[in-house]
Symmetry: C2
Subunit: 328 residues, 2 copies
């Protein structure tokens, strides 16, 4: 089914506020989720309302989001156990503020959980002319390369570069599968792909329930595992627990750089645009229609769907969100 953008946004806000999330926080979450839908990431979109409400209800009411440590080029934010969709906006905006003054910002946030698409936050900074890198460690689900005990989160990394056109945005996870994919497979009663998870005894499994009890495998062998570990260590640096056993205390790391401190910003943006064109002009491999620039598919879908003004939604998800709103 389809909703208008305004209807979808309103639906998400009603469900979140009825669960006890404050209006301004709910509006930030809803904007993120609807944007994910427009960008074509439907599973990271409105279905997340259900997961956020479920987690929120298990928790004590959140406290304020506060800057607890600050230097010329850095800050640490206590997220007050608010959902990271909200805390990350505070953090990236703080980083942009610091960067505007001093050219570089390292901002961390802790005491927070669930953060959505990391691309969303780095794009926000890149649209203001900054290079932005963002990582987060999450609930321990991923074993290190060669092991079977879960230790790291699915630990995504995003980095965005301003250009003369849209920002060029790279957003990757570091696990062979994601919590979202495994949860979806469990709901649908479908098996996982081979080679992405082990059960609690360390045997390979395609059973989603066994994978959730056991461990996901890292993406990309020892290199991907190393990258995941680096993201874990950056999370710890900003106050995360070394290993996160529940849905709390993620460590969000943000680096924002004003290109102007390194080279003339206009020249940099032109070069990013030039590289984007060079990638798009790369001869494709046999069987590939063309070479894709990372992130550009999402940006293109957003343009098309914004023009159409509609959000795609699974009817069952719609009904479940309406239940949360007390409308059924």
């Amino acid at each position: 089914m389809q909703l208008s953008i305004a209807e979808a946004t309103d639906l998400a806000i009603r469900a979140l506020t009825r669960a006890g999330i404050k209006q301004d926080a709910a509006a930030l979450v809803a904007a993120h989720l609807v944007d994910a839908n427009l960008c074509g990431h439907e599973f990271s979109s409105l279905p997340r309302v259900l997961a956020i409400v479920e987690e929120f209800r298990k928790k004590a009411p959140p406290g304020p989001i506060r800057v607890v440590r600050e230097n010329a080029c850095s800050a640490v934010i206590d997220g007050g156990d608010n959902v990271a969709y909200v805390v990350s906006i505070t953090a990236i905006d703080k980083a942009v503020d610091i960067c505007r003054k001093n050219g570089v910002a390292v901002v961390g946030a802790n005491n927070t959980w669930f953060s959505g698409r990391l691309a969303y936050y780095v794009e926000r900074a890149a649209r203001q002319g900054y290079v932005a890198m963002h990582t987060t460690n999450t609930t321990a689900r991923v074993a290190p390369y060669g092991g079977i005990d879960r230790l790291m989160g699915t630990n995504p990394l995003a980095i965005a570069f301003p250009s003369d056109d849209d920002p060029l945005i790279i957003d990757i996870g570091t696990s062979a599968t994601t919590w979202g994919d495994v949860a979806l497979a469990r709901t649908k009663g479908e098996p996982l792909a081979e080679g992405v998870a082990v059960d609690p005894r360390g045997n390979p499994t395609v059973d989603p329930a066994a994978a959730l009890e056991g461990a996901f495998l890292p993406w990309g062998g020892h290199r991907g595992s190393g990258l995941s570990l680096a993201i874990q260590l950056l999370g710890i640096l900003v106050g995360s627990a070394p290993v996160i056993d529940d849905v709390s205390n993620y460590g969000l790391f943000f680096l924002v750089i004003d290109p102007d401190i390194l080279m003339p910003a206009a020249q940099y943006k032109a070069r990013v645009s030039e590289l984007r064109r060079t990638i798009a002009a790369n001869r494709p491999m046999p069987g590939m229609p063309r070479v894709r620039v990372p992130g550009d598919g999402s940006l293109q879908r957003r343009k098309e769907r914004l023009a159409a003004g509609v959000v795609n939604l699974d009817e069952r998800v719609y009904e479940r969100i309406r239940e949360l709103c007390g409308e059924r």
Copy 2:
């Protein structure tokens, strides 16, 4: 064959200075190459003397290494077309200086080439208590995911974290193979692994010469390609050409962070050590003897070989270096 550490260092310095590299620069290069050997990276070690001299002789004499742009938390260094083994030391030391004062440093260096093991530079900062990240883009040899035209370099990434023990060091490349491996295969007349390179027409190849004419493939599919592209864009940010056609104008990016700006440094180091122990205690997969902590193998080999005091060297490489010294 084996040399003492002093003999190997002296041999490298003699060959480099005889080619025209200044004594202090040659000493920095030799220290790096001998250390690579001790850490077990023999191909990145003394054989590199040959490649460095070959490139150096093609070039005009290098200029001075100069800081050409500086802010409170950042600097840009013009490498003067000196070899990056030397420029990177200037850059990481500058970053540590800035970081000591202001807690965060972003330092870039350009107009330089060939930089060795990135782990070497980030370890240098981590031993002084700092978290350090370093990337470099290099000569275009790698096609973006789905393409066949070379665009990115082999673009490595290293990041080091201080701990109560040795730093925890992650150092990964982002290409399916390396220039060093392909050059070695060509020298030995051996084929490449399947799936790591294409010839100039984009057909898969295991012929090293064809791979050097064509393109290497990125490691890790679209995610590894995205990471490589991010490293390319950070290189451009510090003054590299968008695409590097020869052995020059690499873009070296350094981020150094004092943990103390984010949390008490002693607590951070203790947590890094704790995570290292947790990794080492992870139950191994069937068939794996144990789970390895990234970088710890190199550190362990260095300790053993330093104690033994010897450097391992291929006799043919030794003879070729002695030729460069005019000793045969």
